[in-house]
Assembly symmetry: C2
Homo-oligomer: 342 residues x 2
């Protein structure tokens, strides 16, 4: 994966949780990186460490709108396009479902057309949500899923399914070389503290000395992949020579109960944790666990970061983040900067 | 359903097979009708009988593009918007899969926004294809389907699912009053002779004295709804006071074997029919049959036209159509006319 000559990667959604880690890893690998983000749900502060680096540029823009000239004019300089643009947390993507759908469909179309013109390779970050509320465990890529196309999650789930459809159509007709990653639960630094995920919720409550909320008895299971493992997989998939005519599940197949997760957090947080049990919501997502056989076979990839290690880094980051956001602390890095407005 | 004052209905895809029948029925019911169509797969000749009528206007345009001013300026005159815009036959919708997807997603979004601004009620013509290759028979609206979101049919199937998602999101957020019809196999006059459906194939082959093609032994079943029954259902659904928060299957639940269909055609065609058997294609669509319990309960609707009667009208129309298109016959009605170009 060493770069012979300087190539440019465009990361749409590059200020988001996974996107910002991906931008950093691409810079480390020798790419120039253009980060395109509308900053609607991502946070500029995720880019703090990157903005001073040579080869990194940030463009504020929305993939629903025509792509900014500063990007389209780069033409064949751009050899890799990663599409991570879309709010991923239910309360955030449901706040404007029309925009969520258009982000996935129109945004993916615009980036695919750019890939076609530039001769760049395109990677779509799809999601385990394409399996909906699955009736099979673990989920392999052949499983067609059980998705409601009429409910409040459909703007995201069906938007991603539609984006996959478009992406494979571009590949089938020879318009672009593509890769499609179906990303399962991922955690780590740069998660939005307010997005309602179980890891960020429990870690933040624990760090703030609040009672942590456990729904049900905590015996329900989840699978968590550490963000650096995920980013490594995305880059391996992009650079691999697989045919690109099938999606690839990426995630951690190891199931953990919520009670185990809490124990792992407790081990990292230096204070007593009080637990508040609440009834399991009716629509609590059932178990979802990736079959990563294809990723292992095609990419030689599997998650390497253990839960204790990943949580230690996550808790450390959240502790600094919460301190930074404590009342009275100035947040210079979130102030407006010179950005290319679209 | 009598109109107290003159109202205007917009029919996107109004020059198509079902659309052209709908335009006529709406005129009969007292609506002024604007037919919007890009004529990519529809045929202008379907509108022959309508273009001379008062209250009918044709606008050539593509719902993927911004709506023509002649439509947006009509504002609150428009009280009903029927979205039937999309090629529906696999070879036609697969010819430009990107356009198929955008027609469903961007087109539906533009028409929903028009409905929101005009205060019009919006009906989406969805499809039985949202059930994919179903694992349950008959299909009821709760069934989530078994759709591949990566294959060559996905541009249409997932496009329609995405269009449903957007439509229900507009309803949920109070932006528009909506209805969603899931249309199953329909046949009748104005079908495109070249679109590869079993009814048009068999009827045209029989009328032309060619051997008719039967795949397999003809024991596979299909359900066929006559187009006038379908149009009646669409208008009943539009005008009904149902909550509009759920899709409604429309189609004929009566299953017929292909051999029965051929017998019914034979009864209408005054010549010997030679049968050519071919092996059943691997991807031959499996059985699909609607559960129309919801349509019966909400609309008091069920198909009324028997297969013999519907086929008689269909064969009669195809006979005239084939004569009209015979070599040496001038087709004035398909020549370009004054249309509002977009």
């Amino acid at each position: 994966m060493k770069q012979d000559k300087k190539e440019t990667a465009l990361v749409a959604g590059g200020a988001g949780f996974i996107g910002s880690h991906l931008c950093r890893a691409l810079l480390r690998q020798g790419f120039d990186v253009i980060c395109l983000d509308n900053l609607l749900t991502a946070r500029r502060s995720n880019l703090l460490a990157l903005e001073a680096e040579r080869g990194f540029s940030f463009v504020r823009g929305d993939v629903v709108d025509p792509l900014p000239a500063v990007i389209t004019e780069r033409g064949a300089d751009i050899t890799r396009i990663y599409n991570l643009a879309c709010a991923a947390s239910p309360p955030l993507y449901q706040a404007d479902p029309e925009h969520t759908m258009l982000t996935n469909v129109v945004g993916t179309d615009r980036l695919l057309r750019l890939a076609e013109r530039a001769g760049a390779r395109f990677l779509l970050s799809s999601t385990s949500e394409v399996y909906g509320d699955p009736e099979r465990h673990p989920q392999s890529e052949e499983y067609r899923g059980s998705v409601s196309c009429t409910g409040p999650r459909a703007c995201y789930d069906e938007g991603k399914r539609a984006a996959e459809a478009m992406t494979f159509d571009f590949a089938r007709s020879g318009r672009a070389e593509v890769r499609v990653a179906r990303i399962f639960n991922t955690y780590g630094p740069h998660m939005n503290p307010d997005d309602g995920r179980v890891v960020s919720n429990l870690v933040c409550q624990a760090l703030l000395g609040l009672p942590v909320t456990i729904y049900g008895d905590g015996s329900q299971t989840r699978s968590f992949c550490y963000v650096e493992d995920m980013v490594k997989a995305l880059m391996l998939l992009m650079e691999s020579d697989i045919a690109g005519d099938e999606p690839v599940n990426l995630g951690n197949p190891e199931e953990r109960t919520i009670a185990e997760l809490l124990d792992a957090i407790r081990a990292q947080v230096d204070r007593e944790i009080e637990v508040e049990h609440r009834p399991l919501p009716v629509d609590d997502p059932t178990r979802r666990r990736p079959d990563i056989g294809r990723a292992r076979a095609l990419l030689g990839w599997a998650p390497e970061t253990g839960l204790a290690e990943g949580l230690a880094r996550t808790v450390d980051w959240f502790a600094r983040e919460l301190a930074r956001n404590a009342p009275g602390v100035t947040k210079e890095e979130d102030a407006p900067r010179a950005a290319i407005a679209v």
